[in-house]
Symmetry: C2
Subunit: 329 residues, 2 copies
């Protein structure tokens, strides 16, 4: 995220006076925010606020910046817990927090960071923002519950509709719907109802693009481990589409590997599956699907922003959104 | 907790429309609150509000009830995460949530419940309450961090001062300091500064009494597993006092058992340690310590409540507090 926003986030967090244990605690809270996330969501929020007429540097601008900081804090506490829930090894090129400090301390640090998010929301003093953050946490947790339940039950007989419902709840609300709405609220404007449908489409496009990059991205550009989703047994549109069309033998190999825990998966079998997926056409299918979702979302968003007070900023926001579904990293 | 308060808590939580997975999610959120906690903290908050002149049934009464519900929600989400962090088996006579549903789903349910706590705080619309809840989450997480760090590092060379600092942060703030302060705020009164010192003493007394009951309580009255703290390797004043005075051989046995994970502990060795502790006088030492903390806390609290508008309610509050350090369950 932008340095000024990172500074704002860090200004809320404890510096760790007193006991050495509490110094370590503060360092844990500051770790993920300092690892250099892209700050996609906070940028969308600020772009939405500008499109709705908010001038940077005005008193209302402070509210927008606190909400942007809160959104980044949301992302970071959720990632700490997600990394535990998904048994992830790395985050932004370094070991996940629970791999450095153990699961108990990492759960606890995530909880404290969750409350620092609410401090940022409180600082913003933007009417309606609390309700947005409540809905954001609830929807995201519901989506995560769907995803984790499927992992736990080794459920792979899922439809495109199942995937879309999960990804809308788990990713689209906090990545697009809420940034659009919060930007409007920060500018003192009631959010356009069409932001929800637009954001759900664009958020799904964003996540599907992420799934595509995870399998077929450029390792030098994409920040995460290529093929990591396969090792984590993640449900993606690519895999679900491939499963519906794959030869029985390949499908059998896949399901057998997915019954294993991460550390017990066979590297050669996973490499084969990775290759089958790349050769199957399912990556292209998913990318086309994402492109359609993005087009629909952009059309709705353009409509909703037609009367926005700052049309230059609205175009900038649309450009940012367009980039999400086609990005290389 | 009281049925009307439980009803208020449940009224906030989702009922689980839609997919079966989301029904299961709602049931997870509703599970701990419905297991019949005693509601000690919400009762203290409501008693403090009455002592400060709040009349039940008035509009201000709604604010107090929402804060009481929020305090119960705090307790419940924290317990879900604590049970994972402490590797606990049971909670209120039933398997811990993560033993029923696995760690990933339980972390996620705790996070959602955390946000429902903020919804209750928001409903209360009591000026100053957000800051109190922020401080409550932060202090409790700091105390939990101390405790968990010691468990992780197998640290037993701790002083009474270390224990007291941990227990004040981890237990005293949310059990006594915050209920006293929130009750005042709900009645529209600035909390007396002495509530902090009084609450820290009384909260420590409460926790030490809990540690005493865990080793020496009546199994028919005490709701938890007698000796469970030993199996979990919990730091208590009793154990720290005993370690400073125990014969080297007994100490060696203890430290050897504490290096083991719960499931690898030797039942006979643990039973011996339990007996040594009971025979050592350290239980009585800890209870005396708790009694002194309680006396100091009660004296401070009585002073702070001298000018409270409802003296009958203030006496009731003092009586509830007195009970905490001498209770049997």
């Amino acid at each position: 995220m932008r340095p000024d926003l990172l500074g704002r986030v860090l200004s809320l967090l404890p510096t760790g006076g007193g006991r050495p244990e509490l110094k370590a605690f503060s360092a844990m809270l500051r770790d993920y925010p300092q690892r250099g996330g892209k700050g996609i969501r906070s940028e969308l929020l600020l772009a939405s606020a500008r499109a709705h007429g908010l001038q940077p540097g005005t008193p209302g601008g402070e509210g927008a910046l606190w909400l942007a900081a809160a959104l980044e804090l949301f992302q970071n506490w959720v990632l700490i817990h997600d990394d535990i829930e998904d048994d992830s090894e790395e985050r932004r090129g370094r070991p996940a927090l629970h791999r450095l400090h153990g699961v108990p301390l990492a759960i606890n640090a995530g909880d404290a960071l969750h409350a620092y998010m609410w401090a940022a929301v409180h600082h913003a003093q933007v009417p309606g923002a609390v309700e947005e953050f409540l809905n954001m946490v609830w929807r995201t947790a519901e989506g995560q519950h769907l995803d984790l339940t499927w992992v736990q039950h080794r459920a792979w007989d899922l439809t495109e509709g199942d995937y879309l419902e999960m990804v809308r709840l788990k990713t689209a609300y906090y990545t697009v719907v809420m940034p659009l709405r919060l930007g409007a609220l920060a500018a003192g404007v009631t959010p356009d109802e069409r932001f929800t449908a637009a954001g759900l489409n664009l958020g799904a496009a964003f996540q599907i693009r992420d799934d595509v990059l995870n399998l077929a991205g450029d390792p030098l550009k994409y920040g995460k481990e290529i093929g990591g989703d396969l090792l984590e047994g993640k449900r993606t549109l690519i895999v679900l589409h491939w499963l519906a069309h794959a030869p029985e033998e390949q499908k059998g190999t896949f399901l057998e590997q997915m019954r294993r825990d991460r550390q017990d998966k066979d590297a050669e079998a996973i490499a084969n599956i990775h290759r089958w997926l790349l050769e199957s056409g399912s990556v292209e299918y998913a990318q086309d699907y994402a492109d359609r979702q993005a087009r629909e979302g952009l059309a709705l968003l353009a409509e909703a922003l037609e009367d926005a007070p700052d049309q230059a900023a609205a175009r900038e926001l649309l450009g940012q959104m367009r980039g999400l579904a086609t990005r290389e990293a």
